[in-house]
């Protein structure tokens, strides 16, 4: 695939609107995310955060607007798909589905059965990176929420994506686990030179890890560096109620 100019935004969204069942969910959303950064999409429940990501990835239709993923219009999503990975909030699979961690990774291989040696090596490297190497032969259904999330992170990196979209990376994980997941993501972002787009509702986490925040509540209320744009006024507009802030002194610089 042709190398992408480093000045091309990882994501460019212009006037994106989404209507579901006749109800406007997102209205005229525009923003850009530069390559190599971590962007967090925040907002209250029902603000349209997941819808925004799903619409960018063409999982749900948009009413209007344009989206470019590393310069590729998402109308050609199959071309852009090679550059992105997506980790949904919950993996919607049956607990009786007998897929093991290794079997999951084999799905990414171009081989009809199994995987190549190079792919196997990559799988081992990634599983080691997320601390899941010893669970290779476990069924997905036997993993805890945190272990499944780590496995999915490793799986999502299997074919060297440029952008990683994660919907609530810490959903279903205890607080200590959340901290570890975000530290892990920060390390992976540096090692794999990724752009990360995270949906989150945890302001502390956003302040600590994100370079850029997008505040959403049907429309885009703010976009920029978290400690600059996340003012009490914006938070009140976003959540509809005063929100005890924010400045915990460990924001990413």
């Amino acid at each position: 695939m042709k190398a992408v100019d480093s000045n091309t935004p990882a994501l460019a969204v212009k006037d994106l609107s989404v209507v579901l069942d006749g109800y406007p969910i997102l209205e005229n959303i525009s923003f850009t995310i530069p390559q190599g950064s971590t962007a967090a999409i925040i907002g209250p429940n029902g603000a349209g955060k997941s819808v925004l990501v799903k619409s960018i990835l063409r999982l749900i239709p948009k009413a209007k607007g344009e989206v470019e993923i590393l310069g590729i219009n998402h109308r050609n999503y199959r071309k852009a798909a090679a550059l992105v990975s997506y980790i949904p909030q919950y993996l919607d699979f049956d607990r009786e589905f007998p897929l093991t961690v290794e079997g999951l990774f084999a799905l990414k291989s171009a081989r009809p059965l199994g995987m190549t040696e190079v792919e196997r090596e990559r799988m081992h490297t990634l599983l080691r990176m997320v601390g899941m190497k010893e669970h290779l032969h476990k069924k997905l259904s036997a993993l805890s929420g945190g272990q499944l999330q780590r496995t999915l992170i490793a799986y999502s990196l299997m074919d060297h994506p440029k952008i990683l979209f994660m919907d609530e990376p810490s959903a279903g994980i205890d607080v200590q686990g959340q901290e570890t997941i975000y530290s892990l993501l920060e390390r992976i972002q540096k090692e794999e030179h990724l752009t990360m787009v995270l949906v989150s509702h945890e302001l502390d986490i956003v302040m600590q890890y994100a370079d850029q925040v997008l505040c959403l509540n049907k429309e885009l209320l703010c976009a920029g560096i978290p400690k600059k744009v996340l003012t009490n006024e914006i938070l009140e507009r976003m959540y509809g109620t005063p929100v005890g802030h924010v400045a915990h002194g460990h924001a990413k610089h």
Binding site: A80, Y86, F97, T100, L107
Partner: protein, 269 residues
């Protein structure tokens, strides 16, 4: 009883039984994992209308069964995408309409009721040499396509949204899977009949799921269990002079029951 093994009609039936058993066992794994048992049953029964039309216009019933099974499979998918009705409601509508149509068409085809009955329960011992050739060709095509698209089918079965985000054209693969399923069902109907075709698809895969630790094991066990069921069923049917299709299905049911005990024995206490 061993003498029957030397009869050409039995040998032909055995070859086709093994081919069909393996084919249905592989497709059955995804049918079970995707909870499509009733869907498969519905398109199997719908094929009866296609067979009735084929008998009426004097065409090979396989093509009638295949065409109608596909028509109903695509019809259900199409109506589901534009209506808010649940899948089981739509299956109920298409299922009953197709069987009713088959019964009405039969009344326009005097003298063919016996043929239609044979398609209800099948008869694997009526296999001809050309049936073997047809089975080999169709099974090879279905398995070839399955090998090529199998990983995409599994990814879609695991989580369709994730598969779509990875760039897999989910709708096209769904249609392809329905095509393969309809072809396998249409092929199997002649031998085990409309009533039992779903059992051949479901029981070996469900048995395998009870004892498998991974998906590749489930595919392997499903094929082995199906081949054992077909072999045991055919030999038992020859020894006891019972109908072949139901005997094969009961053999696989015995293995299914045993697999439940195996699963219980290995369950964490």
């Amino acid at each position: 009883m061993l003498e029957i093994l030397t009869f050409p009609f039995f040998q032909r039936a055995f070859i086709v039984g093994i081919i069909l058993g393996a084919l249905m066992a592989i497709l059955g794994v995804l049918v079970v994992l995707r909870k499509m048992s009733f869907f498969s049953d519905a398109i199997g029964h719908s094929a009866l209308a296609g067979i009735a039309i084929a008998l009426l216009v004097n065409v090979n019933p396989f093509w009638g069964a295949l065409a109608f099974a596909l028509l109903v499979a695509f019809g259900i998918s199409g109506v589901r995408s534009i209506s808010k009705l649940s899948l089981d409601t739509l299956l109920g509508v298409f299922f009953s309409a197709s069987v009713s149509l088959a019964v009405i068409l039969v009344t326009f085809t005097p003298g063919y009721q016996a043929d239609l009955i044979s398609f209800l329960f099948g008869n694997i011992l009526t296999v001809t040499s050309s049936d073997i050739a047809t089975s080999i060709v169709i099974a090879a095509v279905v398995l070839g396509v399955f090998l090529w698209a199998g990983k995409a089918f599994v990814a879609i079965s695991l989580d369709p949204a994730l598969a779509k985000a990875e760039g897999i054209p989910v709708k096209q693969y769904e249609l392809l899977f329905l095509l393969l399923l309809a072809a396998a069902i249409a092929l199997a109907i002649k031998f085990v009949g409309v009533v039992l075709v779903t059992a051949l698809l479901i029981i070996p895969a469900a048995t395998a799921q009870n004892i498998s630790r991974s998906l590749s094991q489930m595919f392997g066990f499903s094929v082995i269990i199906s081949i054992i069921s077909v072999s045991a069923g055919m030999l038992t049917s020859a020894a006891l002079s019972t109908p072949s299709g139901p005997t094969i299905i009961l053999s696989s049911t015995v293995l299914f029951v045993l697999s439940i005990f195996v699963k219980l024995a290995h369950a964490p206490r």
